[in-house]
């Protein structure tokens, strides 16, 4: 039981991070119809920024806010300057520009902050003793903190989408850009906003996930997370924010449980298994669990 709960807590923490990044991917997909391959690197850049500030004795909470704001700016500017002029050309062109952005951000991280791995201080008490005991299993405050923060982000996003005028405009733009523009919605600004919010969510996820493992802040940290997050987004349905959250959590828990209880495919094969399972699901439901079915007008 302890063993199971320990794993479950870890799985939920990982899943929360996958879910947050998957939500970020879904927001970009709804705005622009593409996967943002630079999403992980945007998050890494802002996480480095936050880490750089913590080394100058800035409180972690302040660093988190700075990272989120910087992420917002990075996302919004990328949309306006890099993506919008190119997106009508083709999907391939957009992807290549995002891959270019991926390279630029990753290389900049290395040039500015160095190539060695760093440890990021946590927003929450993060010592070996700071846990509560749940049926004998250790539930660390750091984990609880991550859950609460991610839950708060989801709550804010849900409220934004469903309860505000701005959210309505965002949904309208995602649904049909031309009609939205005709109805007087400033589509350009909404797209920038979507990318900005998406990158800000990624920035928060980066600052939250990095302290969970010592020495984990490095140039290769975010790419595997992005792979899992895109698997989650695909699984949940690329245009469904709720689907991204559910699928991210499921994937996080499943990953940990498989490596704990099915040693034959655990460890090295995790990513492959996650993807094979998802491809199998997609064959039955091409739109993902909660996605909208694509309908083509002839």
């Amino acid at each position: 039981m302890e063993f199971f709960l320990d794993r479950l807590f870890d799985g939920i923490s990982n899943g929360a991070i996958y879910a947050a990044l998957a939500l970020a991917l879904v927001m970009v997909y709804r705005a622009t119809g593409t996967i943002n391959f630079a999403q992980g690197e945007m998050a890494l850049f802002t996480t480095y920024l936050a880490w750089g500030l913590t080394t100058k004795n800035v409180p972690v909470a302040v660093c988190l806010v700075v990272a989120a704001v910087a992420g917002f700016a990075l996302g919004a500017v990328s949309e306006r300057v890099l993506v919008r002029p190119i997106e009508k050309r083709s999907l391939l062109a957009t992807l290549i520009v995002l891959l270019g952005l991926f390279s630029v951000l990753n290389a900049s991280d290395g040039l500015i902050w160095g190539k060695g791995n760093q440890s990021m201080p946590s927003l929450f008490p993060n010592t070996l003793q700071s846990y509560v005991s749940v049926f004998g299993a250790r539930l660390y405050w750091a984990n609880i903190g991550v859950w609460l923060m991610v839950a708060a982000v989801f709550a804010v996003m849900f409220a934004l989408f469903n309860k505000t005028r701005l959210g309505l405009q965002m949904r309208a733009t995602a649904n049909n850009r031309e009609s939205a523009a005709l109805a007087g919605i400033p589509v350009g600004r909404i797209l920038m906003l979507g990318w900005g919010i998406s990158a800000a969510i990624g920035a928060i996820a980066g600052v939250l996930v990095t302290p969970l493992t010592p020495d984990s802040l490095g140039l290769g940290e975010m790419f595997p997370l992005l792979i899992y997050a895109s698997a989650a987004a695909l699984f949940g349905g690329l245009d469904s924010p709720g689907g991204a959250v559910v699928a991210g959590l499921l994937l996080g828990v499943a990953e940990v449980m498989i490596s704990a209880y099915v040693p034959a495919i655990g460890g090295q094969l995790q990513e492959a298994i996650a993807f094979v399972a998802i491809v199998a699901v997609l064959l039955l439901r091409p739109q993902g669990l909660f996605g909208t079915r694509e309908v083509e007008r002839v």
Binding site: L95, Q268, P286
Partner: protein
């Protein structure tokens, strides 16, 4: 004071006329001479060229699926690796003749391509790209998972004596890099001819129709399922055979070093830099993705290499979206224009006096 200078207009050459044919032959002879000249370079440069030409071949394979049929693949590193490991395992563990292993490598990669093409029947666009991403992610993990077969994380080493040039080539051991170079150059030539022929055929039209307007293509009788699957298989087979020769050249394989997603990204990048859906674009692209990072590595001890690569990539997409080959084609049209054969006239003629020039959008006159 400005004077009006009248440039002479482009020279018009009728397609498939004697003049057109001789131009084509001149182009091929020029490329062949270039290849012969390159073979006199030192071993180090030959090794570099070998890898660049193999990338070019792999990109030509990718071009069939992504460029001509519109199936974006981020998983072609897996085909390259699958071909390389097929050759590596058959040579190292089963003593096969390296050149014979190209056949099973092609067959295995073709079959894998068919399997990957299968989801493409239901999944489209960016979702399909993510499915191929799965393939690219899974491949190195699978290699590590079966160390008995593949050498796992330690890697797979082929005895170098098994990879020396065979006697009939007349190439000495000291000059063995010439052998690897000619293998890759020969493969590239065959693949380019194959791709050019295929994409100009009826099947090629079906591929482009599938890419441009799927529904309309189906309405005109294109078998979408068949087209997508077979193209994906063929595309994978070509990339896989390039991987096979990569194994013959390199002699030691490590999936975590050579066949990760990074390679897929390199291949896509090369395709776009060279020119999507062009015949010679993959060659330019292969050379570019190999040599540009190599040259930029000397700037600031290589720290800025990745940065420069990323910037080049973004700038290229903005200023030259049709790739280098597209640019070359556009510029050369100012000097020389190939007129298509008017329908219904069977016999090729040199006819410069035609009054109507149909500007066609095909990439016919690139080669």
């Amino acid at each position: 004071m400005r004077t009006a200078v009248s440039f002479p207009g482009p020279v018009l050459v009728r397609e498939r006329s004697a003049a057109h044919r001789s131009l084509q032959v001149a182009g091929i002879v020029f490329l062949a001479l270039l290849a012969v000249y390159a073979s006199t370079l030192n071993s180090f440069r030959l090794g570099q060229l070998t890898v660049a030409l193999l990338y070019a071949t792999a990109i030509a394979g990718l071009n069939l699926a992504t460029g001509y049929t519109g199936q974006l693949s981020i998983g072609h590193s897996a085909f390259f690796g699958l071909g390389a490991y097929t050759t590596g395992i058959l040579v190292a563990s089963h003593n096969w003749n390296p050149l014979v292993t190209l056949i099973p490598a092609a067959v295995i990669c073709f079959a894998t391509g068919l399997l990957v093409g299968l989801p493409a029947l239901r999944i489209r666009g960016i979702n399909l790209a993510l499915v191929t991403l799965a393939l690219g992610v899974a491949f190195p993990e699978l290699v590590d998972r079966f160390p008995g077969l593949t050498g796992g994380q330690i890697g797979l080493n082929i005895n170098v004596f098994q990879l020396l040039p065979p006697h009939w080539t007349g190439i000495s051991i000291a000059n063995r890099f010439q052998y690897y170079y000619w293998l890759s150059a020969g493969l590239l030539a065959i693949v380019l001819v194959l791709c050019a022929t295929l994409t100009r055929s009826r099947a090629g039209l079906a591929m482009k129709a599938t890419r441009d307007r799927e529904t309309a293509a189906a309405a005109f009788g294109v078998n979408l399922a068949w087209t997508k699957m077979v193209v994906f298989g063929l595309s994978g087979a070509i990339t896989g055979v390039a991987g096979s020769i990569f194994a013959i050249y390199l002699g030691s394989l490590s999936a975590d070093a050579s066949f990760t997603l990074t390679l897929s990204i390199v291949l896509i990048t090369g395709l776009v830099i060279g020119g999507v859906a062009t015949t010679l674009g993959p060659v330019i692209g292969g050379l570019a993705v190999y040599f540009v990072p190599y040259w930029t590595e000397n700037i600031r001890q290589g720290e800025a290499s990745e940065l420069i690569f990323g910037v080049i990539l973004i700038v290229l997409m903005f200023v030259m979206p049709e790739g280098l080959m597209g640019l070359i084609t556009r510029l050369s049209r100012r000097v020389l224009r190939i007129e298509p054969q008017p329908p219904g006239q069977g016999q090729p003629t040199v006819d410069g006096g035609s009054s109507t020039v149909i500007d066609h959008h095909e990439e016919r006159n690139t080669a």
